[in-house]
Every structure is written in C-alpha cells, then in structure tokens.
Subunit: 346 residues, 2 copies
DNA sequence: GTTAGCACTCTCGCCCCTTGAGTGCTAAGC
DNA sequence: GCTTAGCACTCAAGGGGCGAGAGTGCTAAC
C-alpha cells in the first residue's frame, strides 16, 4: 500500500489511542500527540483520506474515527512494534508456566486457563495429535476368570488401558500366547493398516481366544484414533463481558453461544505454519467471529505433535502485547513438552 | 402454616401464572382463572394478606404480585403437583440416556450437556467418589531399559497406568519380585494406611529397586486420592441468557463469573441424602446464588459411589417439571451406571 | 500545503408528558 | 360480615422535544 509517512503516523496514533480508550478518536486528540506538530484541520484532511482508503471508519458523521479491520491489518503488518515483555511480565509468564507434570490434556487445560487469566480474554487450546500413530507394545493381564486388562503403549509414549470382561475362560498360557501374537502382529501398524484380512489371519491362529484379541485390537485402534484427533479446550469465556464492546447483551450473546458449543471450537482458526497468527474480524471464516479477532500461537511438541494456544476478543485489542505474550508462552510450552523436554518429574 | 384453602388456590394461581409469563400477576388475571368464582377486589384483599405473610412480593406499588422465595418454598412443599412426564418426554430422556459406554467422567460430562439441553438451564454434574478406595492389583511392566509401566487397579474396578522412566537397570526377575512385593504388601490398603513405616519395611526387602517401588506406590496413592475427590462439570452456561430475568447484563455477569470459576463449582449444593432437592434463592449459601434456584438429583452408582446432577436457574422456574425430569434422568443414570449395571459394551 | 473559522450533523442525556396497568380504600349489596 | 363495584392514586415505561457537546467538512486566508 502506497501511503505517506505522515499518514502512517496518524493511523498509528488513532489505532493506539483507540486500543487504549475504546472511544472514537478525534482530530484534536491526535494533534495533542507528542511528535506530531500539525493542526487538527490538517489531521482531519489526512483522516478523510485514510477513511477513503478503507483504513478508518466513522461510527456516525459527528463522531471520531475508529480503525476498520483493514486498518488493524495494516497496523499489524507494517506499523506495530512487537511488544517487548517487561521483566515482571516474563516472570509472571514463567510462574504460570510452572505447570505440574501431568497428562498432556491437563497441561492443555491449565495453559488455557492461565493464558485467559493473563490476557483477560477467553482462551482456547488445542493439541493436535500426529497423523500416524502406531502401537508399540501390548500387555494383556488377567485379573480373574473372565476379567482382563489390556494395556497398550503407542509410539508417542502414551499408555492407555481398559478393563475387559468377557465370558471366556482362558489359561495363563493362552494369555501369554495371545500377548505374543498381539505384539508380533499388531505393533508398528497405523489404524488403517489393521485390515479385515489381518484380523482373519489372527483368527486362524488364536481361535479360542479370538474374542479377547479382537477386543484388545479394537481398543488399540480407538487409542490410535483418539491420538490423531484434536482435543480442544476453552477457558475464561465470561471474560468477554469485562470488555466495553460487549457491554451490550445483544452483541455478546451470539458470540458466547457460539463459543460454548463444543463443535464450534473446531472451527476456530488452527494455522499449521508460523508461530503467531492474527485473524482480524472478517478474516475469520466463522460467522459469529466477524467482529472479533483471534490471536493464536502454535508450537511444536515433538513426535510430530503440535499444539495451539490462542485467545478470542474484540477487534480492538492490544495486538502487540497479546501476540508477544502468546509467543512467549507457546515457546515455553514447547520447551516444556517438546522433543528435548526432560522426563516428567515425580 | 395456617392458611385458608382459598388463599392457597390464589397463591398457586399466581405462582403458576408467573412461572409461565415472567410478568407480575394482577388480580384481574387471577379472577379470570377457571375455578375461582370471585371478584378481583376480593382477590386483592387476599393477595394483600399473602403479601403480609411473606409469600408474595410487589416489585413496586402499581405492579402485580410476584412470588417471594418463601412463596416458592411453600408452593414446592405443599401446593405443587409433581409433574408426570408425557410419553414424548420420557422418550426424549430415554434417547438422551443412550450414552455410549465410556469412561465415567465422559458419561458425567455428556449427561450434564444433555440435561442442560433438555431443561434450557446450565447444568452441573458431580461424581463423588467413595471415601475408602484400595488398590486391588498392581502390574509392573518393563518396556525397555529404564522405562517401565505401572498399572494399578482399584477395588472400584478402575484401571490406571503411568509410564515411568528412571535410571535403574533391573532384570526381569527383579521386576517380578517387585511385582509380587507390591501385590503382597500394598493391596487392600487405603492411602492413609500406607505409612512411612510400611515403606521402610519395603525398603529393606527391595533395596536395589526401591526407587521404582516408591514411584509405583506413590502413583497408587495418587490414583486413590483422585478417586476420592469430587469431579465437577458444568455445561450450558450461556443458556442463562435465554431467560428474561437475565436480559440485564449487570445481573448475569456476577452469576456467569461465579459459575465459570472452577472452584466455585464445589460450593454448589451437594446433598447427600434424598433424591431431588430444591434450593430456592437465599436458601443457597453461595452469595452469587441468592437470586437463583438450584434443583439437584442424586443417585447411587454402586461401590459406595454417588452422583449428582443439577441445574441452576432463576427462582422463577417450573419446579414441578424440572424436578421430575431430573428425577427420571438420575434414575436412568443409576440404572446405567449402578450396582446391577451390565458391563460396558464394545 | 497548512490552518483558522464556522456552519452543520449527530449522539446522548435530560425532562416532561401521557398511557396503562394495578392497587387500596370506601361504601353499598347480599 | 364477607363480597363487590367504583374511584382516586401510584408508578413504570415509552415517546417527543430540547440543549449540550464533540467532531466533522468546507471555505478562505496565510
């Protein structure tokens, strides 16, 4: 976009003032801004130009100017200085990152809660599993007659178990045999690779105990599928109400309802490249997000797994600060969960 | 309370009309009620009496009457006819109860979601674990050098596992020994009964492998503790906004914020006797619930475990219908999860 | 190209008025 | 002595009018 230096400075002043106050910004306010030695009238002319370019908007004739989504976009792309976290801020974030070593989904939940608290916006967190999980190891345990435990471990080091009951009396030897069969035939395969033919072959070998084997395998498939799917979590929904743009019930309700729907969460932006992405107003696909912005950071947690953590808020938000915090936080999470991470403590 | 038959009929008419319309009820409206052949003037006199008794209230001088919390209480205790579910309703509830056989906490979540949908109020569900869980069985599996899986099964038939890494090279024989030791010494004990002395004794026996044993035991304790604690879940928070009493943001916000706090959920009513309990307005202890009512049903799910499922809404609610639905639903959940329940399907 | 001046526009808050619903009281009726 | 018609009174809600204030666009001078 071809735009004079002065216009840029004015645009930036308008946006930053509006971010801070939530009130339309007039020419006089900008004129008072240090560093800009021009009269309100000149600024008015410039602002009219900026409006014509689609970077500013007027709520009504006699109000000040407000940034348009396009204006925010231009600001984010070209004008914004990436916020440098203060020492206090990094300390707060570090403290928040001291999550207890727990199951992955607990970490996700907790991270989301914390980010929501720090940013004052609702936050969502997603852990996207790897696309190709395989089972690394099976263990079949007999608890008592007709009661068994199957334990599977994936190549992503996840261990899951299930209690099985079935009306079949099997000997210890049969169990051991079955165990060996499972480990020989069904490890290292993705769920798609476990075909009916394969199952049939197994049936030949372990006729008596086939029911148990089938249950163990279908549990394994379930675990692999579960790993591959997204796990989304949302926190701090009602923080929306703390922001002036949502003082009006008519305006919040659709957004609240949208965000409380489980399935809606999966329509939230989920970028799979870069580190911090910003979606401003109509850049969002979901209809209910047309007046909101989403800032989301993604991070690598090793083993082909990725995580996302983001926030949802009004288009008027301090993108610089929010993006910096998310970036830092995601980075911390990556270190905490990622490839080189230390084993969980006890 | 000593109160004439006619007053009762008027009170009931007021309450039921108010429940249906959410508007203060005037004497004329009541007079038109079939079955009451008295003039508005007489009704006005009676209503003034009912107000003096604290059963009705007037929002302002020239408005109709509105039930007070005490009025609702009297209605619930003495006037209300328990709603009989229609065939359609039981069918809807039955359909909703067809939950997939899954982990307990998934069932809880799902049940809460469904009840919220059916009642149009936010719903909470709690599974209260038994107070004395013990471990029934340990299994220690070696995955590879320095990597182990510990599997524990409680007397409530819950199976949990954890992946352990520790810098100790143990032989298969050692593992088996440890396994036997664990099963001999640490099964059948509650977490309190696992004393430092007991641990010390174990240390003597299994010196080399003590670190692994200690980790297995502390995991077991963790699992027992987890079982004993409450697990609370809330669904459909934003449904509050669908009700006219919450059209005002000032009024909803505190309630929404209260209910979105994780820890606040544990201050929700959790009766441990009877089957359906109703808490009206100020009968709730929590400050944020002074203007809301809570209806909660409890049910037995065997093994000394209990579940609760309840809803939160304005004091103006159709107690008869809501209570009947919760009762039916809780009953269904008890059958589904309870002592005589069939084993999970596959 | 910049700026002072000015008329114009539009929102917001305020006051006032009307309307309508509902009450309590009084006096008459059964 | 209870019931009821009649009536004056009260109060919330909605609508119109008005002034203040903020900000604009245009014009003309610098």
């Amino acid at each position: 976009m071809d735009i004079s230096e002065r216009k840029k400075r004015i645009l930036r002043a308008v946006i930053e003032d509006y971010i801070a106050t939530a009130e339309p910004v007039g020419s006089k306010t900008i004129a008072k801004h240090a560093g800009l030695d021009i009269s309100p009238a000149t600024i008015r002319n410039e602002m009219a130009d900026l409006e014509a370019m689609g970077l500013l908007e007027q709520p009504h004739t006699s109000a000040g100017r407000v940034p348009s989504p396009g204006g925010y976009r231009f600001y984010v792309n070209e004008l914004m200085e990436w916020h440098r976290l203060s020492i206090q801020e990094t300390e707060r974030l570090n403290a928040a990152l001291h999550l207890k070593a727990q199951e992955l989904d607990r970490v996700i939940t907790e991270a989301s809660r914390v980010i929501s608290q720090l940013t004052k916006y609702p936050s969502y967190a997603i852990s996207a599993g790897p696309s190709h999980v395989t089972i690394r190891r099976f263990d079949l345990l007999m608890v008592e007659r007709q009661t068994f435990i199957v334990v599977v471990m994936t190549d992503t080091n996840l261990v899951r178990n299930k209690l099985l009951r079935l009306p079949a009396d099997l000997s210890e030897t049969q169990i051991q045999l079955l165990n060996r069969l499972l480990n020989a035939s069904f490890t290292g395969l993705t769920s798609e690779e476990i075909t009916p033919e394969l199952m049939n072959m197994a049936k030949q070998t372990a006729e008596d105990a086939y029911a148990l084997l089938a249950m163990a395998v279908s549990f394994a498939i379930e675990v692999m599928k579960e790993q591959g799917t997204y796990d989304v979590h949302l926190s701090g929904l009602t923080r929306l109400l703390e922001h002036p743009e949502y003082r009006d019930l008519e305006r919040v309700q659709p957004l609240l309802s949208y965000l409380s729907e489980e399935k809606a969460l999966s329509t939230l932006p989920m970028p799979d490249d870069s580190q911090v992405k910003i979606y401003i107003g109509p850049e969002n696909v979901a209809g209910a997000l047309q007046d909101t912005s989403v800032v989301v950071a993604s991070y690598d947690i090793g083993d082909h797994m990725r995580g996302l953590i983001g926030i949802v808020g009004p288009t008027r938000m301090d993108y610089a600060k929010i993006a910096a915090r998310l970036y830092y936080f995601a980075d911390g999470l990556a270190k905490f969960l990622g490839p080189g991470a230390p084993p969980p403590e006890h």
